[in-house]
């Protein structure tokens, strides 16, 4: 194995539930995920698929008392974080693994200056004096494209795009080895989206950070990801390198995602949204979780749970329709 292919993160059979008064939400159901140094893995799926929950469990931040990480392993740089004490977790959060949160309007503390909020992380992990940390925080603001004189200002004085830059600066403050970006551009308007994405790409390369990019925007995936995991109802249905997912699509759900993107160059190709909605996560269907919405489903899909199987060295799919002789998706050969 080449040292460049070093795995910085391994997730094995991760299962997370939210439990309250008798109902159990099965948010994440036995997923596996690997992250290779300096690579970017995209985690794609509709709202409610369990993307944020997966990300939070990587930081040991699944919200108690409802949230429970049931079993599995999360190995970061060789250590299983599920076996760590709170103290050990605090030492790796923000340092070895950091997260950019979904909504920049609520992710910042309204009563602390942005400089303060960045400096906190530096004080914690680099054991420097506050003044030094604040100076560093100001430099970081400059790095993400905000005048450093504004470090003394409060979040309400910034626009949404700038707040997201601040959130990014907080996450990158201690140059973490692993960065989880939870829909970092969803809340921003399109022109700002492109700027923020470009900036993240640049900084990620400069800091040699490995990244998990959570999104439901396949455009973002195409732009930034090396590998893609397609997530649905807490399961990974398809996993592969970018070309596998985009050009050799194998799962009916992935196909559905592509079909639901309007094609602005050709108005004859009609938008085909996936029928139905996400299943109730506290009452998931038996068999394949996608079968109620799947145009290819048959009787077997209702009872038999598909496993994620290798179909090439880089590509995995969880669909038993491939047991049928000659089965292929409508889109796959076009």
């Amino acid at each position: 194995m080449n040292s460049n292919d070093k795995k910085v993160l391994e997730v094995k059979n991760l299962t997370v539930t939210y439990e309250s008064e008798g109902s159990v939400v099965e948010a994440v159901n036995g997923i596996n995920l690997d992250l290779t140094a300096r690579k970017t893995v995209g985690l794609v799926g509709e709202t409610g698929a369990g993307k944020t929950t997966t990300a939070l469990s990587l930081l040991g931040l699944v919200q108690k008392p409802q949230g429970h990480v049931k079993n599995g392993k999360i190995i970061i740089n060789g250590k299983n974080i599920l076996e760590m004490t709170e103290k050990e977790l605090e030492n790796i959060r923000g340092k070895e693994i950091a997260m950019i949160f979904q909504d920049p309007m609520t992710a910042l503390n309204p009563v602390m200056t942005v400089g303060d909020q960045i400096a906190e992380s530096i004080v914690k992990h680099e054991k420097v004096k506050y003044e030094e940390a604040f100076a560093k925080a100001s430099e970081l603001l400059e790095t993400v494209g905000i005048d450093k004189a504004r470090a003394k200002e409060y979040p309400h004085q910034f626009s949404g795009g700038m707040r997201q830059r601040v959130v990014i600066a907080i996450a990158l403050a201690c140059r973490p080895g692993i960065l989880i970006a939870d829909e970092p551009t969803t809340a921003l308007d399109v022109t700002i989206q492109a700027q923020v994405l470009d900036m993240m790409k640049k900084l990620k390369d400069e800091y040699e950070t490995s990244m998990i990019m959570i999104t439901h925007d396949l455009g973002v995936v195409a732009e930034i990801c090396d590998e893609v995991a397609v997530m649905y109802a807490g399961h990974i249905l398809e996993y592969g390198v970018l070309e596998d997912i985009f050009n050799r699509t194998k799962h009916p759900y992935t196909e559905g995602l592509f079909n639901s993107i309007p094609d602005i160059n050709d108005d004859k190709i009609r938008l085909v949204p996936i029928d139905g909605g996400m299943p109730d996560p506290s009452n998931l269907p038996k068999g394949c979780v996608f079968h109620p919405r799947c145009p290819y489903a048959d009787e077997k899909c209702k009872t038999e749970k598909p496993e994620l199987k290798n179909i090439s060295e880089t590509h995995q799919v969880a669909c038993i329709a491939y047991d049928r002789p000659g089965f292929s998706l409508g889109r796959s050969n076009s």
């Binding site: 930081l59 950091a98 609520t106 503390n109 309204p110 009563v111 602390m112 309400h156």
Partner: protein, 311 residues
Amino acid sequence: MIRYIIRRMLWVIPTVLVVSFLVYVAMDLTPGDPANAVLGDVATDEQYNQVREEMGLNDPIVVRYFRYVVNAVQGDLGTTLYGKRSVWDEVMSRLPYTIYLTLASIVVAVIFSLPLGILAGIRQNTWIDTLASVFSFVGMAIPNFWLGILLIMAFSVHLGWLPSMGVHGFKSIILPAITVGTGLTASLTRTVRAAMLDVIRQDYLRTARAKGLSNRVVILKHALKNAMIPIVTIIGTNMAGLLAGAMVTETVFSWPGIGYLTIKSVLGGDYNLVTGCIIITAVLMSLILLLIDVIYGFVDPRIKAQYVEGR
């Protein structure tokens, strides 16, 4: 900010004018006659009329009120009925005691309600949460005079640890401050708990945790700073109740503040003194509310920004 404070201070003037007019008219309407009170029952009609003329009581009320205000801005609130001392001096000599008691009871309330409310909020539905809510209900239901008497019986009469009346050093403030502060402690505990419950679910606390900050820092720094906003509001809105509570409590403990003086002057029918006491209390109240507003600006930068913009 400074301009804002000055503008707010100017607003105290009309407030006090309205309050003083109402008090003046109310005192005029109450049965009884100052001239009678001065002379006693054995005066002739002639003497009586002469005294009324001397005291200016025969003029229309608007004229009398106007004269009162003109004198008042020069620090002359008239003289007390008995002993003919200056009302201004009398009230001012009591003012520090009332301020002392009010501040002490706020301190008591904050000392008890912060930890209790925080714990109840972060450990929702545990025994400490139940304890806090039982305490809040009881604390809000107990009348001040009854609590005061209870405390005197327990700590002064029975145990003999603390004085029951007057001012004899630091020990004397303890029971009155607890008496006045209990109601505020009760409502503050509920506020702190609710604020904590609200703040604790906010995304920015997750951001703080994701930086690797410890639970203690997350709660005491990030959460509490945000919870301060409703806490300061509740202290502000409870000020009127606090001053009223002080009036009763000062009487129970013979605490030489404005409240005790007010009650005594009402019972003695000392018109000038009652009016003076209430007007000074109104000014005090306005200034405390202003202070709360200023503190507000410091806890919430968004509000401070409004002050600056809204000049």
